[in-house]
């Protein structure tokens, strides 16, 4: 009976322990600090947003969000480990704690906010869904696509928008869904489908990966709003703030004219109170965010301001040559607008 008693006691202890551990599960911020790097969920290869360059380094606009978080937190933008995820895998990976932040051209929607337990930390790219077709088809508008076979990536908002668009236009289509965007692109090339639909930025990125990019054209219609941004798990306010403000710092830096070239100089010599607060020369805004005082300096120095990363990855300085458009600053006719640091 003694044995039985101890077993029972051990069992009871295990159960109570288990419950108490679950009640005070460590925050993401503590866990990230303890392991010394940010685990970042990115896409499985999308030029301009997240893909491996010739040296095997991940680069792109989405990758830069994670690098900014690492720069703010550790003062070192390289302290990031990447997990490439398909569209189907991404939410489960974030929900289960496999990644700390999901920065994978993911559309911010109400159900993802409310039912999936995600928090979107902002919008790092304002996008919209478009269509990529072979020029040979002679199609000039999405309204001529009745009866077409359409390639889509499974488990995306694109799938839903496509159905809505064709239903609204009283048109028919055949959906051909694949898990990976590369598979969809190959299917378009092989002729399994007539049209590839996705966010416009992705279409431009996929197009340059095709064997003959010039044979394909992106149709003018944009059929949806796709605000893409990084997401974190709910119930972790500190971590959410850090990711959110890392992104805002990049946008604010661009607005104030702070660049990777002049940031160190401005941090010491600027007289503009906005710049001084952002760069930690005034106030203790970093400490409030549970970050080092020079968090924004490190972000801009190592990753650049929003305009710099945009140009480098998807804009004029890249192969994609996407115009700033909606992604320009609010005072230049775009939508990028960050709350002030104060």
């Amino acid at each position: 009976m003694k044995f039985a008693k101890t077993t029972l006691a051990a069992l009871a202890a295990a159960v109570t322990l288990g419950v108490s551990v679950q009640a005070q599960a460590g925050t993401t911020l503590d866990a990230v600090k303890a392991k010394g790097f940010v685990q970042c969920g990115i896409s499985d290869g999308l030029p301009g947003f997240s893909y491996a360059d010739s040296k095997g380094q991940y680069i792109g606009l989405d990758v830069d969000v994670c690098r900014a978080v690492a720069a703010a937190l550790f003062g070192d933008a390289t302290k990031v480990k990447y997990t490439p995820l398909t569209a189907k895998e991404r939410f489960t990976a974030l929900q289960s704690g496999e990644v700390d932040v999901l920065s994978r051209n993911t559309t911010w929607t109400s159900s993802r906010d409310a039912a999936m337990g995600l928090n979107f930390a902002g919008v790092n790219y304002y996008d919209g869904q478009g269509f990529l077709v072979n020029k040979k088809l002679g199609v000039t508008s999405a309204k001529e696509l009745d009866g077409a076979a359409v390639c889509i990536q499974a488990g995306t908002t694109t799938e839903l928008n496509l159905a809505d668009y064709f239903r609204a236009g009283n048109m028919k289509y055949t959906p051909i869904t694949y898990d990976k965007s590369d598979e969809s692109a190959k299917a378009l090339e092989a002729g399994r489908c007539d049209v590839l639909t996705s966010d416009q930025s992705q279409l431009y990125a996929q197009r340059i990966k095709l064997a003959k990019p010039d044979d394909y054209v992106v149709l003018p219609e944009v059929i949806s709003k796709e605000p893409l941004g990084p997401a974190v798990r709910q119930g972790d306010a500190d971590w959410f703030n850090i990711v959110k403000w890392s992104l805002f710092a990049m946008v604010n830096a661009e607005e104030m004219g702070v660049t990777s070239a002049n940031v160190e100089d401005l941090a010491k010599n600027s007289t503009n109170p906005d710049v001084r607060r952002l760069l930690g020369a005034e106030g203790e805004f970093g400490k409030d965010l549970k970050l080092p005082q020079d968090w924004a300096v490190q972000i801009v120095k190592q990753v650049g301001n929003y305009g710099e990363t945009f140009d480098r990855n998807v804009g004029a300085g890249s192969d994609l040559k996407i115009a700033r458009g909606l992604n320009d600053l609010w005072n230049k006719g775009g939508l990028q607008y960050a709350p002030p640091v104060r």
Binding site: L11, A149, G155, T177, R192, Q234, G235
Partner: protein, 394 residues
């Protein structure tokens, strides 16, 4: 003092009673299992709540909103996730059933071929078995889908047979039949023929047992089953109106389409599993000793009768149990469909629906239960068949 089972020891307490202790340990084990289960459930619930993730099965009633490539029952985008589940399940069952039928036919053929006395036939069968048994099924699916079916011409350069059947990269387009009055008349004739055939069969058996005279049952019933509906069909005119596939705009419209994803998956699964079935059939046939054939010969049985009444029943006893495992494997391997975008249960429900709703625990547990149910159903069917075929010991 001698320990005696019949007289309980007076000095020992209840704790030293082996029977009582056995009970205690069993009760404790049950409590431990329940506690662990409760803990897992509670922990999951707690974590889902603290992260703001919806739970429960209410999502099944929401409308899905996305299109599906192939559905055996009617489907529109406004149908519910529950409907999507049904469509995924039917697509999985379709590919499993097709796979099982083709794998069995091909497997039996190959198994017999490998035992053939013809050197070429037996070596070819061996070669087939050794190649396809040893390549992972996923690679075979990729081979059929990407290497073979991707190289079929586009819709405007379709290969065709007499302008009625078209083959292109989008699939195989066949004319689809719509039944007319003639069809229903022919169907009625077929049912009548079937009833008469059963009656003839029973009468013929009675006569054979009473007088020993045989009646050509097979030929008569075949003649009835095919002849009667044909005559009635001819009287009423064409039983079907054929809807021809036609190139309209981007694709062929109308008719019936077999999508390349289904073809690739069925081909790969049947060819892969057939290699295993062939070996099982060979083992089964070899397990029947040659003495059985000789005994049947000495009784004067004809070759066909020997095969049907002596060899096959005994071989089946050895074949059926491992054959069941192969059927189960095929049904489970059909979930590799997700790799080529065939809308089966895993790709559609555990993939797209999971992603659109974010309810991983619910969708995955439903999907797992379905595979469990399919596998158990196959097992049950095969086990009952096995029981019928098993040796009845007297």
């Amino acid at each position: 003092m001698q320990p005696n089972a019949n007289s309980p020891r007076v000095t020992g307490s209840l704790l030293t009673d082996p029977k009582f202790r056995a009970w205690i340990f069993q009760i404790l084990a049950v409590i431990a299992v329940i506690a662990a289960g409760w803990y897992l459930f509670n922990n999951t619930q707690h974590n889902l709540n603290s992260r703001g993730i919806s739970s429960g099965f209410g999502f099944l009633q929401q409308s899905a909103g996305f299109g599906i490539l192939q559905s055996l029952v009617d489907y529109t985008e406004s149908d519910s996730y529950a409907r999507v589940f049904v469509i995924g399940l039917l697509n999985t069952l379709l590919v499993s059933v097709l796979g099982i039928v083709f794998a069995t036919l091909l497997g039996f053929l190959l198994g017999v071929a490998r035992l053939s006395h013809n050197w070429l036939i037996s070596k070819l069968a061996t070669l087939y078995i050794e190649i396809f048994r040893n390549i992972p099924p996923l690679l075979q699916i990729f081979f059929w889908y990407f290497a073979v079916l991707r190289n079929v011409p586009g819709p405007r350069q379709s290969l065709d047979v007499g302008e009625t059947v078209f083959l292109n990269i989008r699939g195989l387009y066949l004319p689809s039949p719509t039944p007319t009055e003639g069809f229903w008349a022919a169907l009625a004739a077929f049912i009548v023929a079937a009833v008469i055939s059963i009656y003839i069969g029973i009468k013929a058996k009675q006569r054979r047992e009473a007088t020993g005279r045989r009646f050509p049952v097979l030929l008569t019933t075949l003649g009835l089953l095919f002849g009667l509906p044909t005559i009635v069909g001819l009287l009423f005119g064409n039983p079907f109106v054929w809807e021809m596939p036609e190139l309209k705009g981007f694709n062929f419209q109308g008719g019936f389409v077999v999508i390349p994803e289904l073809v690739a998956l069925t081909l790969a699964l049947s060819i892969y599993t057939a290699a295993f079935i062939a070996e099982i059939v060979r083992a089964g046939i070899m397990s029947v000793s040659h003495g059985q054939t000789e005994a049947a010969d000495s009784l004067g049985l004809r070759r066909g009768v020997t095969l049907r009444l002596v060899i096959i029943p005994q071989a089946l006893r050895v074949i059926i149990p491992p054959l069941t495992s192969q059927y189960l494997n095929l049904a489970k391997n059909s979930s590799l469909a997700a790799a080529i975008g065939y809308p089966d249960l895993v790709s559609l429900f555990a993939g797209t629906v999971l992603n659109q709703t974010g309810q991983a625990i619910e969708t995955i547990s439903i999907t797992m239960s379905v595979y469990l149910a399919i596998s158990l159903a196959i097992s049950l069917l095969m086990n009952s068949y096995n029981k019928r075929m098993a040796l009845v010991e007297r």
